[in-house]
Symmetry: C2
Subunit: 251 residues, 2 copies
DNA sequence: CCGACTTTGTGCATGCGTTCACAAGCGGTA
DNA sequence: TACCGCTTGTGAACGCATGCACAAAGTCGG
């Protein structure tokens, strides 16, 4: 209720908090995919595409068409049977569900290689996420602008985060500092954290953490490399019964 | 069979490809967690810890103890009932399963902000992933060393990847170049790709792609921010039945 | 106005992953 | 040696997510 554009909100039971309860019911996995759909749709809109079918969109997003329709059904019925979806309508509804109608101020902590890269992205891809604060322990860095924003000292983190209404904190520090930084962010009222440090963060229940762990990603790939190598070995030694020297063996 | 160290391979049916079939059976989600366990265990080993129980390890890794035991059971039974696990034994077995006994040569394509950061990591966290090749389209960058490795031109990608036996390709280019770069990596024989570009890559079935999408991560966090905000609004406006102006209304 | 065609939205079955709960197994102790 | 307490490993139940298949609902052409 009380949301922007009063469209399909013909709920027969006015006591139902339709939109809000619905948002809570969206599976985590579907949320991640909605973000992907949004990007694909934005690209289509830029190219002047106005309508799209679930089949087309699902292919562009690399998922099953039925799954895509189910994902979209979590946010409401905004398609037209026999036709498809209006690109702009879908974009605006996904943006609404993902909370992209407001800007989310971002703070980056740890201005090393990665911190620099993040700061220079300057308002993250797809925008709506302005980086408004940078922090580091290194006194030499304090005051120097990176990506247009001067670096603050980490001891000022609480004051600065409150002042600039930071809603998302990004941790790009070395591992040993991560938990301490996390604690400070939390006590500064930050409830969402994106963690690049290879550390398992301990946080209170009301704080949401997502981690991006390069080492883990590499090791998962390594696992698959190894698996492939083993399979290949099996195929040549075992499966077809012929070694690489199959025809050398005489009867 | 035929694997390194002939330990617990007392399979009664010698026809079973025990280790290999087992590796295929490990759920994807479990593989990701194994990498986390490995890091935690390595940290413990560095601190002189020699034994650990599933309860301790699971807490350090931030997961359920039963889940941890099940994950470990996928790679074999290397614990001692009533005691726990030997840290070093566990480390070496996880390393073996994840294929970390061999080195995996890494190529980074796109030497912008992110590419610089990745190249300067210099042998990824937890090592075993030496970066051996860097590529960019920009002629001005070619030949300049970044993190100790000179940048090659992207047109040489096939030759260089084959020569240096690159097994993992990292795409850190702008979105429009990603698919083209991906195709070139694939035709150079690279079967594992880590993609930082916000693009859905199309690849043949025999290539494994993992993506790290900052925009998606931010948007998932944004979703949770919005959800929290809605919940908070509900508590004050809906749940308790009193508006903010509850006592202004006269009877 | 009607009928054929297209595409959505979703009930249902299937499979995967998580969690519980407990028997089996091992070390320590008397 | 026999018992006791602790921890692993896993069978079984549960819950979530995926994919199928189809009815509902709309458009378009005649």
């Amino acid at each position: 209720m009380a949301s922007q554009r009063g469209e399909g909100e013909t709920t027969t039971t006015p006591a139902e908090p339709a939109d809000r309860e619905r948002a809570r019911a969206i599976p985590e996995a579907a949320v991640a995919r909605l973000a992907v759909y949004l990007r694909v749709l934005s690209g289509m809109a830029d190219q002047g595409v106005t309508a799209v079918s679930s089949e087309e969109l699902s292919q562009a997003a690399g998922v099953n068409a039925a799954k895509l329709r189910k994902d979209l059904s979590y946010i409401g019925s905004y398609g037209t049977r026999g036709v498809g979806y209006d690109v702009e309508v879908l974009v605006s509804h996904i943006e609404r569900i993902l909370g992209l109608t407001r800007n989310h101020s971002v703070a980056v902590v740890g201005i090393g290689n990665l911190g620099h890269a993040l700061a220079n992205y300057g308002g993250f891809p797809g925008r709506g996420f302005p980086v408004t604060a940078l922090f580091d322990v290194d006194e030499d860095l304090v005051g120097i602008p990176v990506g247009g924003i001067p670096v603050s000292h980490i001891d000022d983190i609480t004051a600065v985060c409150l002042e600039r209404e930071v809603s998302i904190g990004v941790i790009a520090t070395p591992p040993p500092a991560a938990q301490s930084v996390c604690d400070r962010l939390v006590s500064a009222g930050v409830q969402c954290i994106l963690n690049f440090a290879p550390v398992v963060l301990q946080v209170p229940d009301n704080v949401e953490v997502r981690k991006v762990d390069l080492a883990v990603e590499m090791q998962i790939l390594s696992f698959h490399v190894a698996r492939r190598a083993d399979e290949a070995a099996h195929v040549s030694v075992g499966n077809n019964g012929l070694g690489v020297d199959g025809m050398v063996i005489r009867p």
